[in-house]
């Protein structure tokens, strides 16, 4: 099956540490997506974000997505880690690392996983501005 791990944490994410955790000896490449808090969204300046999750369901969804990616792409290991709680501008909110024997599959699977995570994993963000806040609804 390869190594797969899924975490939700309020601690800062170490993208390199996560990427290194998925390196298998027989593999040649890891592709890592590192998403972080933007200062501006739709022209408005964000002070910070708050992420909240439906934790047990979010972890199940991550696991389901990783299993689907393993079926679809020739990949070895997958890590999906999402941070929760209050995040300042520039801090990493999500890291997805995919290790594969050949880099093409790692690129494809990583891009597919972030797209699906944003579509199905029950995590929400609240944008906090100087003059208000709003829970963001996905599309």
């Amino acid at each position: 099956m390869g190594l797969m791990f899924f975490e939700l944490t309020i601690d800062p994410l170490d993208v390199g540490e996560i990427a290194r955790r998925v390196v298998p000896e027989e593999c040649g490449a890891t592709v890592t997506l590192d998403g972080y808090v933007r200062r501006f969204t739709r022209g408005r300046e964000t002070e910070y974000l708050v992420y909240e999750a439906y934790k047990p369901m979010a972890l199940k969804e991550m696991e389901r997505l990783a299993a689907a990616a393993k079926d679809e792409f020739d990949i070895s290991n997958v890590a999906i880690v999402h941070r929760l709680g209050k995040l300042r501008i520039g801090e990493t909110s999500v890291v997805i690392s995919v290790a594969a024997p050949h880099r093409r599959a790692a690129f494809e699977a990583c891009e597919w996983l972030i797209k699906e995570l944003k579509r199905t994993v029950p995590i929400w963000k609240k944008e906090v501005y100087a003059d208000g806040e709003v829970w963001v609804e996905g599309e």
Partner: protein, 83 residues
């Protein structure tokens, strides 16, 4: 029968709670259960369509033909925005 209902983010603010215990008719369909919940928490559909809400039973997105059973964990939330 008793079930629990969880709300998150915007729906928790609108429902005024993150978790409720409610009574539903035994063996009710999932769609009907959602209607009952939205009737009790009208703010959830005050400024959005019902179709934009997501509904989970026991931590999985609900299937149309699913029924709800005693002790189930239901959840109502908006389209996700993680990442």
């Amino acid at each position: 029968m008793k079930v629990s209902v969880l709300f998150f983010g915007a729906t928790a603010e609108e429902a005024g709670t993150a978790k409720a215990e409610i009574d539903l008719e035994d063996g009710i369909g999932a769609e009907t259960a959602l209607t009952e919940i939205l009737d009790r928490y009208p703010k959830l559909t005050a400024s959005r369509d019902r179709s934009s809400l997501l509904f989970a039973v026991n931590q999985e997105y609900v299937r149309a033909d699913e029924t709800v059973n005693e002790g189930d964990e239901l959840a109502v939330f908006t389209a996700v925005s993680g990442g």
